[in-house]
Structures are given as C-alpha cells and as structure tokens.
Symmetry: C2
C-alpha cells in the first residue's frame, strides 16, 4: 500500500521524514540511551542508510496518531552485541521474520515500533519499516536498552512477546508463540544461540490501542534531540555531557579512567550475554574516588566509593567526555576515559510489575529498587 | 473433507480400518519395534482409543497409493519418555501443532505418517489422523525408534524436518523452519526442554512422491502382525520370542537377568534424553555369559561377553521371555528378566547417509558400522 497511503488513510498530517543526517543523529542519540548496550551503531546506521539510498522513505508517526485497531510489531536484533560485529547481517533477516510473522498471524503489519533505544535496535526497525513501506512509531518498549525479550513496557503493560519470529542469515526461522513471556525469551534465546549468537526478530504484535497503553512515547524524538545536540557541541565546542544531562533529565555522577575489566566467559554461564564488571578511578573533581559498574549487555548497576548510585531500570550512560560518544559493554577497553551520567527511567518502566521484571532482584541483586533521584 | 472422501478422491479401494483390538495389537507391536524407546504405550493407546470412541475412523492406506502431489506430515511426541509418564498430554497439543503447521505452510495436510515405530509415536499419529479426518500412511521414518528429529529415512532421503511445530499442554507453540536438520533438532529439543521435557510435534511436511522415496513401507502392518502374534501366543502358550524373531527376521542372542543399571543425570549432560547402560547375567543356555546394553532413549549397542553383537541403526529388543512385552529404557529395573532379540534395520536406514546420521559414530562410538547379520 505504501507509507504515504497509510498516512493518508489514517489521516496523519504531522509526521517526521528521516533523512541521512537525521538517521545519523537518531542513531547516535539512541546509542547513548542504550546504556552501554544496543550494539554497534555503524551496523544499524548503514543498514537504514541503504534503505534511504534505494529511494525509500523512513517516516516517524506519533504513537497517539496510530489507529486503535491497526497492527504494529517490533523488529530488532537479539543476541550478544559483540557477536553482531563479527557476524553482520545480510539485510534480509528481519524481512524474513516479518513475512513469517504475518503468515503465522494471518494479518498485515501496518507499523513498526523499536523494542528499545539502541545503536542497532533503533535504526534497524526504521530500516525495516522503510523497506516494506510502512511507518515507524515514534516510541519504544524501554526508553533504554535491556538484554531480554520480556524486559519491555509492552510486556509489563499486558502485551505478550508472542508470537515472535527469529531468523538467521541463512533463512532459518523459529517462531515462539507461548503463554509465558519467559518461555518465549528462552526459546528465542536458544534459537539465537543455535544460530551462532545472534538472531533477527519480529514480534510483539499489538494493536494501536495496546501500543498506546504500553509504549514509551516519543523516544525516537528524544534520541534525535540528543544526537543533534551532540553533533552541534562538536561544532560549538560546548560540553556534550552537560547537554546530555539536560536532555535526559539526569545527573553527572563521575568522571574517570577504566582501570580494570572483568568479563565472564562460556555460553553455559553467560547464555550468550556480554557480562562483567568495570572499575574506574576518578579524574579531576572525582580524583581519589572509585566507581564500579556491572554489566549484562547493558550497564546495570553503579557503585561510587562503595555506595549504590543507580539500579535498574534507571539509566547509566558512560560517555567519552570530549566527544559525547557512548562507551559500550562490547567494546569497552582498559584506559578509556569517560563521564558517567545517570537518569530516571520512564515512569512506565517503574511500575511494580516493571520493577519485578527488570529491577535489581531480577538481575540477582539483593537490594530493593530505589529511584536514582534518591540515590544521587 | 473427511477420510472417506479422501479415499474416494484418491481412488483407494484397499485400506485397513483400525478397531480397538487392532489398535491394541499395533501399539504392542510398535512398542517392540521401538527398541526400548517410544514411551509408555498405554498413553498412546488410550489417546487413539478415545478418538475411536468419539465415533471417528482410523484408516491405514498403503504408501504406494498416496498421490504424488498430496501433502503428508508426521505427528509425534518428542522428549524423554520418562517425563511423558509424569506429564501426560491434554490431547489437543498435536492438533495445535498441525494447525500451526498448516497456517505457516499455507497448505492443507491430507495424510499423517508416524516418524517412528513406538508405543506413543505409532498410535498418536493415528489418533491425530482420526481426529482430523485424514488417513494414516502405513509407513514410518525409521522402522524402529530413535531419539532425534533428524534420525529418519525421510531426512537421509532428502526430506527436511522443516518446518516442524512443537506445542506444550498450555498452548505454547514453537516453529522451527531451518536449512539445517541438526539446527531444527536443536531448536525443537530446546523448546521441549523449555516446556518441561516433553513436546508434541508436527512436521516434516512432504509430498506423496517424497514420501514414497523416503519412507519405510508397511511398518504399521508389521507392528500389527507382531502384536497379533503375541496376543495369540498368550492364548496358545507358544513362545512369543520365537514369533518375534521370525516376523522381524532377526536373531535371539541372549536371555538373562538385569543385575546393574547405570543412569546419567543432569539436563546439561543428557539434554533431556534417558541415557545409561544395562548389565545382564545370562540364564539357562546363556548361563555364565554377560551382556551390556547402552541406551539413549532406545537400546543402542549390545555387547555379549565383550563382543559387539549389534550396532545402530540395527534393532535391539529386550522382551519379557514369558509375555513378549518389551522392556523399555524408561521403566527398566534391577531384576527384570528378558530375552534379547536383534534384527537388521530396513535397507533404507543403511545407506551411507543413514550410517552417518544414526550409525555408531554419531552416537560417539569408535566402531565402524557392521551389519547385525555379520555380528551374530
């Protein structure tokens, strides 16, 4: 039907057309909100850019404009970010998933929503939507990145990740249609591991009314604002960290140098995740202080001088102090210097079911969740 | 359309109608050919009996009568037989799979073929066919039982196990549509483990011409003949072991008492299979001799007095010497007495690809395959 015809039939007059510069800005901003995860933004960006170069349009619509009975689904990459860099996609994987999902559902998918903010999982759903000629909903299911399929505001607001289809680069497709979100995660995770560590997925089919109830609104616009501000700082030589703090409504809590990295190995233990711990020694006004950051694909928990400063689902961002570029769990190295910014998660992520699904206890910590505003 | 209308439209005049007695005989015979695996025949039998009691017909057709372009698929249970007894099916699981498979394929399934000979996987596909009103093909994919999805003459003759759908009792469905048979096995096995050890599956969609090229012909009839002969022996007090030897074209190689059983535990190691080893001390003419039988859901390898007597894919059956009832890997206990009968696998199981797929080396033995006729 074509994206313009969908806009017309839904009577949407306010929308955003994403051009190459926009794509670059959104991808950078999303990779900051990805809190250390979300994978190599270069891969996501190039994929989406390719769609633009084929003459296709990537168009963002506001979630409130999505008709109640229209169907959307998320499209994404699931697996260990580090594998993604070694095993880049062929480009058709998510399209195969979307086809399989439509066939299985017996329904058309009329819009795509990213599951999370990430260097891969923000531009990839945009690329998919552009490729098939449907709009992207300016929203997501986390307002950050998280490692597991069920860790979304979709799920904690009653939308199930079933069915979800997962494909690999050779055309293998696995569909999980379960009554338990954790079982869907387990089956799709196992498929990703059978595929070699990475899978491309489409799932969480939802109606417009389900989407409006469960999604984090305007998170792509927030990524765009972030990316634009940082590119601008590079011209004006303003401090990018200050801009990020302002846009995300957060706090700068540390600046330091990475002096130690512990990584967990072995698929039996890590289940395909990038897991470990960073140690940073303070610099400048933080001299003599020490920060410890745990990670599982994303930065999870921050401790400064033995005191907890941020717990999931609140956001921890480690950014290069000069360029504002995010430092990611899959590429972090000894000697990197960065500023740590923390920020409150969206209120939709902080419901009792949210805290149960992606709060400290789910990740094996004994602490109760305390909002970052109270911790800093 | 109804099974009678299908027979009419395919112009099939020779077919077999299975009644309650027939079901009992087929189930017993199939559980003998299952070589120690195949699960509790009571569960399979009762399920199929229920379909007959609902007034539905179970009709066997000869594989050669299946039209070349008609579609068949297999339907079965996949997982550890011992879990099946603790977690019996609700009855709808395979029907959900079949529905999902049809939806995914966008094609009607017009006949069901059992994947193997087994106390569960022979009557269950018959029950499914009866329930949905289509015929059962008098054939299977092994002429025995084997533990993994790809271990069929279908696969070794070019039919892929993709797509295959796997369901649990709560309505969860996983579909694996891969380009590698081992990957399909891995994904479906993982789903079975996520479901708690057992899944119900429908898959290996194939045309009539693929079926004729790849299936083991008339194996349900062989089960029926076996079961009928054993029930008859119980009336006439003839030796059931002699009858089995004759019908399967095999050899009686041992009679003894089980004096030791080693079982492997832990899902990490066993991957949900019933694995281990039996030791038997000889009785009567075998007094002073010792037999060792390895198993992985099925009896795999037999050694008598330190000499190999049977290797996969040839058949090892351990039968109660008085009743002819098969002794299974999931229920075998210290003190059981049995006769061991070995028999050659169907020629379709002995191709080079067959030996690679389910010969001794696949199961981790160093020996080359030697046909049982040469070993005894």
């Amino acid at each position: 039907m074509g994206v313009r015809n969908i806009l017309k039939s839904w009577d949407i007059k306010d929308y955003k057309v994403v051009d190459e510069q926009g794509l670059k800005e959104i991808t950078l901003g999303a990779s900051i909100l990805a809190t250390g995860g979300g994978g190599d933004p270069e891969i996501g960006f190039l994929w989406a850019l390719n769609v633009l170069k084929e003459g296709k349009e990537i168009i963002l619509i506001d979630p409130k404009d999505m008709p109640d009975d229209a169907m959307a689904c998320m499209a994404a990459c699931l697996g260990a970010p580090v594998v993604l860099t070694e095993k880049p996609p062929g480009g058709k994987e998510v399209l195969w998933c979307l086809e399989s999902l439509k066939k299985y559902l017996g329904k058309e998918i009329q819009a795509i929503i990213p599951p999370e903010a990430g260097g891969v999982n923000t531009p990839v759903p945009m690329a998919v939507a552009g490729a098939v000629g449907i709009p992207v909903v300016d929203a997501d299911g986390m307002g950050r990145a998280f490692p597991e399929l069920q860790m979304t505001s979709f799920y904690t607001h009653g939308v199930m990740p079933s069915p979800t289809a997962a494909a690999n680069e050779k055309g293998a497709v696995t569909i999980a249609d379960t009554v338990s979100a954790l079982m869907a995660e387990r089956i799709i995770r196992n498929a990703a591991m059978a595929y070699g560590g990475i899978s491309w997925i489409a799932g969480y089919p939802m109606t417009g009314s389900q989407l409006k109830r469960s999604a984090i609104f305007n998170s792509i616009s927030k990524s765009w604002e972030l990316g634009k501000a940082i590119y601008n700082c590079r011209k004006t030589h303003e401090d990018p960290i200050e801009k990020v703090v302002k846009i995300v409504g957060g706090y700068k809590v540390f600046k330091g140098k990475i002096v130690d990295i512990y990584r967990e190995f072995g698929a039996e233990k890590t289940k395909g995740f990038s897991m470990g711990k960073l140690v940073l020694d303070g610099l400048e006004e933080y001299k003599g202080e020490k920060a410890i950051v745990d990670f599982q694909n994303e930065w999870l928990r921050l401790e400064v001088n033995g005191k907890v400063k941020c717990l999931p689902p609140d956001l921890i961002m480690i950014l290069d102090s000069e360029t504002g570029e995010p430092i990611r769990t899959d590429i972090v190295k000894y000697g990197y210097r960065g500023s740590i910014v923390v920020a409150p998660a969206d209120e939709k992520m902080r419901t009792p079911m949210g805290i149960e699904t992606f709060g400290p206890k789910y990740f094996g910590y004994k602490e109760d969740y305390i909002p970052v505003e109270e911790l800093v």
